[in-house]
């Protein structure tokens, strides 16, 4: 059963994509939306069936489908093979169900765009690539999906190609992720050389058997981490994601919030056995994650573009996942990945609906008072914001963030014999991040929905768009109760699902940890209310003049730094060497030879010419002189004869 359904799961969006590309321009926008939704919907149904099949089997069971050998040669083999286990089950459910909701929304959102077929072709192709990524049981096969989603992301960010800014953002996203991809490829090459296969099970078995030298293992983990960081827009690759908001909003929701950017998290969770053996890399992951949380949250706090706030928020939330991965609690990372997909998709889709109804106004300071004109969207956005902030008990975000926080507290990194890194410090950073998260998102809520009304609004959000929003609202509120903190009723469905063997009690964690995690978001909400929410807000806007703020607004100035450090020198150097230097040298040598030979030739002809000239003129002169003797006068002749005779006689006589 699984052998048929697994390929079909991928094939169905792929087929939809092919149909859309081939029939582009010949079918109506409505038909385009229907085909796309049908393709993704079919795969959603299949993924639910597959999940049921998987869960009804034994706890460690998996469904496998090896389609065909990719390359088998001496020393290396790879297959096109898919595998469904519990980690990938979570992922396919998220990808197909959230994907389906976003497709339904987009069918209405993109209805009037002339390039709607291209849009949905890329979207369904994206879903197919993402499914390849999460289902692949061979790392090389995973790499197909890994690059495929990058390509779709590029095509969709630059979807409105008429504006060069959009295509530049698209290229930036692709280049930055491509750098990570090549690092990932290096990691794959290293593992393939060491193990002889890239089948995930084989690789992990080799790792646990100690087949790979520790240095090589660390190196491989580092390479893979770089790939994951680039894909998930973590420090130092974070700059591409905010620019990626140039794409249509459903794209931002699907690719740049819910699924593609979490691919890095998925990859590390999938290879968690490998990373567990590479302690320094784990520590690096955790530290970078914690730093990204704070940096993303701080930057989100000073943005004024609605979508950019959400983008920086995504970066920050992905930081939580990397922190969890670094601390070894990959279950928590996956749990947060799931809830984040729900509430961030909700936030993006709501933002998209707002933007459409306010004549494409994205500046939060020009919006305002929207709760009067669009109460439904306000409710949806507030739901998403609460889940993002992690308001205690009622939202999904609370439970997943709590799971991460409780996992980070006991973490302990032994880097060298003397140097150890304690998890408490990272926990503090994450908690501060939680406070900032509540602060920035409720800043956004208060400015956009409360206060004086800023812009005129128009129209009504269509039914087709409200249904996905409603579903996502429910998921963002209730999606978290499957996993409770230890102090609560012992409900550990999610971790039991992922790791049935492990015990699920964090017995050694103090009770006030949960309390701290619950209070901090509320504190953030309160501060936000004081600063921006009250009828006479303390701060309508952060003092925009301060250099720090302006610096932070453009992405911490790192964008500029990269521009100066890498982009400009690269452009300059390529411009400088745009003409082939070697070509110049070689053709220059040729030209020199030609010049030399022509000058030699000329010199030779000149010399000969002069010589001949002299010769001829000399002869001519002599000729003329001799000619003058023949002047026809007998007296002269007689004189010449007489003179000649006397001269001859004189010579005869004297010699």
């Amino acid at each position: 059963m699984g052998e048929i359904l697994l390929p079909l799961l991928i094939l169905s969006p792929l087929a939809a994509s092919e149909i859309l590309f081939i029939s582009a321009g010949r079918i109506s926008a409505r038909a385009v939306g229907t085909v796309a939704c049908a393709g993704v919907g079919l795969s959603a149904v299949i993924s639910i069936v597959l999940s049921v099949l998987l869960l009804s089997g034994p706890a460690t069971g998996l469904l496998q489908a090896t389609l065909w050998p990719w390359m088998h040669i001496a020393g290396f083999s790879a297959d096109i093979a898919f595998m469904l286990d519990r980690i990938s089950m979570v992922m396919i459910l998220v990808v197909t169900i959230v994907g389906l909701l976003i497709h339904i929304y987009a069918a209405s959102y993109m209805r009037d765009d002339p390039g709607v077929a291209r849009f949905f072709g890329c979207m369904t192709l994206f879903v197919a690539s993402m499914l390849v990524l999460v289902l692949a049981s061979d790392l090389l096969c995973l790499f197909i999906g890994w690059e495929g989603v990058g390509l779709c992301s590029y095509l969709l960010i630059g979807f409105w190609y008429d504006n060069p800014v959009n295509t530049a953002a698209a290229r930036k996203a692709f280049y930055m992720t491509r750098m990570g991809d090549t690092a990932f490829l290096c990691g794959l090459l290293l593992l393939a050389t060491a193990v002889g296969s890239l089948h995930i099970d084989t690789v992990l078995a080799a790792v646990t058997n100690g087949q790979i030298a520790p240095s090589a293992l660390n190196m491989a983990a580092l390479f893979i981490l770089i790939g994951a960081l680039a894909k998930s827009a973590q420090i130092p690759f974070q700059t591409w994601l905010p620019d990626a908001m140039a794409g249509p909003t459903p794209t931002s929701a699907l690719i740049h919030a819910a699924t593609m950017v979490t691919a890095g998290v998925y990859l590390i969770a999938r290879l968690h056995d490998l990373f567990a053996q590479a302690a320094p890399v784990m520590a690096l992951t955790a530290v970078l994650g914690a730093l990204t949380i704070l940096m993303g949250a701080c930057t989100a706090l000073v943005q004024s573009d609605l979508k950019r706030i959400l983008a920086w928020s995504t970066i920050s939330q992905l930081g939580y996942m990397f922190l969890a991965l670094g601390c070894g609690v990959w279950q928590a990372a996956l749990f947060h990945l799931m809830t984040h997909a729900f509430f961030k998709a909700l936030l993006f889709l709501t933002a998209g609906a707002i933007i459409v109804r306010t004549h494409h106004e994205q500046d939060i300071f020009r919006l305002g008072g929207l709760r009067h004109t669009m109460p439904g969207l306000t409710a949806a956005f507030v739901t998403g914001a609460s889940a993002l902030a992690g308001l205690p008990l009622v939202t999904a975000g609370f439970y997943s963030k709590e799971m991460i926080l409780s996992g980070v507290w006991p973490a302990h990194f032994r880097l060298t014999h003397e140097l150890t890194l304690n998890g408490h410090f990272l926990w503090g950073m994450a908690l501060l991040g939680a406070f900032l998260t509540a602060l920035y998102i409720f800043r956004c809520v208060f400015i956009v929905f409360f206060g004086k009304s800023g812009t005129t609004t128009r129209g009504q959000t269509s039914r087709l768009m409200t249904i996905p929003l409603g579903c996502l609202c429910v998921l963002s509120l209730c999606g978290g109760i499957i996993e409770m903190p230890t102090t609560f009723p012992p409900l550990h469905l999610f971790s039991a699902l992922l790791d049935p063997a492990a015990s699920h009690s964090h017995a050694d964690e103090p009770g006030w940890l949960v309390l701290a995690g619950a209070v901090v978001p509320l504190a953030g909400l309160a501060v936000a209310w004081v600063l921006w929410g009250r009828p006479s807000p303390v701060m309508r806007e952060m003092p925009g003049q301060a250099v720090v703020i302006r610096f932070a607004r453009t992405g911490e100035g790192i964008d500029m730094l990269y521009d100066r450090l890498f982009v400009q020198p690269f452009r300059f150097l390529t411009w400088l060497t745009r003409h082939d230097i070697l070509d110049y040298i070689i053709t220059g040598t040729g030209r020199l030879t030609r010049t030399a030979s022509t000058s030699v030739l000329r010199a030779r002809t000149d010399f000969l010419g002069t010589l001949t000239l002299w010769g001829t003129s000399g002869i001519r002169e002599t000729d003329r002189l001799l000619g003058q003797i023949q002047n026809g006068r007998v007296r002269w002749y007689a004189a010449w004869i007489a003179g000649g005779l006397s001269a001859g006689l004189a010579m005869a006589m004297l010699s």
């Binding site: 290229r171 280049y175 393939a192 070509d583």
Partner: protein, 503 residues
Amino acid sequence: MNPLPALVLLPFIGGGLAWLAERIQPAPSSPSRNASWWAMLATLIVETLLLAWITFSHPTSHTGPWLEHFSMPWVPTMGIAIRLDMDGLSLSLIWLSLILCFLCACLATRQATVKAGTFHFLFLTTLTGIIGTFLATDLFLFFFFWELMLVPMFVLIAVWGHEDRQRAALKFFMFTQGSGLLMLLSILGLVITHDRETGVLTFDYFTLAQTHLSPTLSMLLMLGFFIAFAVKLPIVPAHVWLPNAHTQAPTAASVLLAGILLKTGGYGMIRFNVMLFPDAAMYFAPVAMGLGVVGVLYGAWLSCAQEDIKRLIAYSSISHMGFVVLGIFTGSRMGMQGAIIQMLAHGLSAGSLFLIAGAIQDRLHTRDMHRIGGLWTAMPRLSATGLFFAVASLGMPGLGNFAGEFLVLLATWQVSPIIATVTTVGLVLAAIYALRMVNRVFLAARREGQPPLKDLSVPQMAAFACAMIFLIVLGLHPQPFMTFSAPSPLSVMTTNSLGGHVP
């Protein structure tokens, strides 16, 4: 009857017919003015049928490594004979040649209206030279075909090329001819050494493979071959003829150059450098691999700065051929198979990109990316095709180029991880040049005052679709190609068993 001589001679005869067809029907307005084109198409079809017959008359579970053999004395006193042999490598490269010729026939050669008959005659003669090069196992005959493909190509560039064609053609001719002479010297050196050693004067590849050479002499002779192939492939310091020739050549000739002519260099390296002089090649490998890496990076780097679309593709070809050199000289079977896959995939992707560039030039009369502007609005089909092949050439996994590059990199990593890591920088540069082209030419705002443009027709799209499918198959299921196109191992140890392989 042996099909190999027919395979070689058929395009030449067909070319002659095409030439005659134009002589007979000179009226410019008559409907049969494309008579020479039809003659060429018919030739290609017959040739393909013949090749298909050869391919399928030998089931893949073949008995020996060599599929076909043909031998006929030519100049017996000198030991020169017409010896043609076919193995999987030559067969797959000939298939690539024919597919690209079909693409050219569908998309490009019809545009050559001036002296169309001569054009087709020269085109098919080049094809004869190429097929002969892939089949010849007599060194003299090999040299003959090697030179044969050169001359018609020179004329094609010099007569039907673009603005700076004379210079480009001359450069092309000088470089390839000059290096060919070195190869001739090497061939003669090898033959004379063999004659001195055994007293048998022969140009037979298999016999010569058994010659015992001193290391110095072996290295010298190998270098002679290597330089000839390095110029053709090209390897970086010897690449300077390529950008000009590719840019100035008419579309069909560009496709032939990039798609197949470069591959003769790679083929020669596998067949002659590595197999005739295995020790010298192994000794020389570090230098060759270094040159390969330089080629990958240098080509990609320069490609990033080009404004002329054909020049951009030309430099990207140099980059891709760097991978081929790298793969061949890793000394492992994996690297060689990677190089072969890379050659096949590059032939399809670069060939198709040149066809697209040619189609754009036919419509807009410019190759400058600034002046082309965005084409997606006006020509979605052409642009989508261009996007596909650009993405293929940047090495998207799932398409042929990635399969080749991955195998080459893996083989390189086993030799030296540092070299492999440095080479991967080329992949980032590949993304930069490919997407730069896409965002200048295809996915960009329409330029003001763009004339109304005609998109590709359905048959033309079908032709491109074939190339796309081949690339996808090559990328997702390269295994059959890898087993099929492996060069027959005929280093010295297997030659004895091959001695009696006459059918």
